[in-house]
Subunit: 146 residues, 2 copies
């Protein structure tokens, strides 16, 4: 299992505080929802789960950005260009296997980041980040379809 599961709510709040972010009711709620979720969420799913009104999507986005800067959250790009959000273990990140049909998301235990970062550094790049996501159709969905 990934280590984010062992990160305490208090650790996260502490981290946010260290980054100069104030602890508001909204933020606390968003962090809670993210922690409780067993899968990455879209901005709007997150808004709903947090019980925010539909106009508050803005707040969600602003906080997601803040969380990302604080290093507690990562974005997962989907094939259609939209994104999902997931807590990470303070600066760490994960890769996923995502079903195109039911959107089930499994975390992949591989991380090729090191090889890649090394390669990129060799080529003179700095501030390296990478995106690695695998899309497919899971067993249930392919059975269901035919």
């Amino acid at each position: 299992m990934a280590s984010a599961d062992t990160t305490e709510l208090s650790d996260i709040l502490e981290r946010l505080k260290q980054c100069g972010l104030r602890m508001t009711r909204n933020r606390q709620k968003l962090v809670e929802v993210l922690m409780e979720s067993d899968r990455p969420l879209s901005a709007d799913e997150l808004r709903q789960e947090a019980g925010f009104s539909s106009t508050d999507l803005v707040t969600v986005y602003r906080n997601l950005e803040a969380f990302q800067s604080a290093g507690i959250l990562q974005r997962i790009p989907l094939e259609n260009g939209s994104q999902l959000f997931e807590l990470t273990d303070l600066g760490d990140h994960y890769h996923h296997l995502i079903c195109r049909e039911c959107h089930k998301t499994e975390r992949l235990e591989v991380c090729l980041g090191e090889q890649l970062s090394e390669k990129a550094k060799t080529l003179g790049y700095s501030k390296i980040a990478h995106v690695l996501e695998v899309y497919g159709i899971c067993r249930q969905c392919s059975t269901a379809t035919g």
Copy 2:
């Protein structure tokens, strides 16, 4: 160098025909631009290079979709959610190292697709695709900035 460079225009046109796509002036032009480009292009860049009017972006998108279905083109997701498009070697695909500042794009010679696909298959997934892109700041840009 990657093998797409060795794919002939005629091969591509042939492939499109096989897929039931008609060969129109627009399509021919788009394929030419894609072939001549030494880097992945956005939909709008492609439109401009092809000399289409600004309302014809639609045509570009529709053809990009057709090309992708025909297996001659891949999409590259950017960090901001938009995408770039690039010809592939008939069904093959590539990964990139993309500079966040100047958007220079280098093709990575690594392809971890096999390991990943294998893993995904083991987990019961089918129709597997993956996205692997590395973002960073290239030497020139980091020197220029500071």
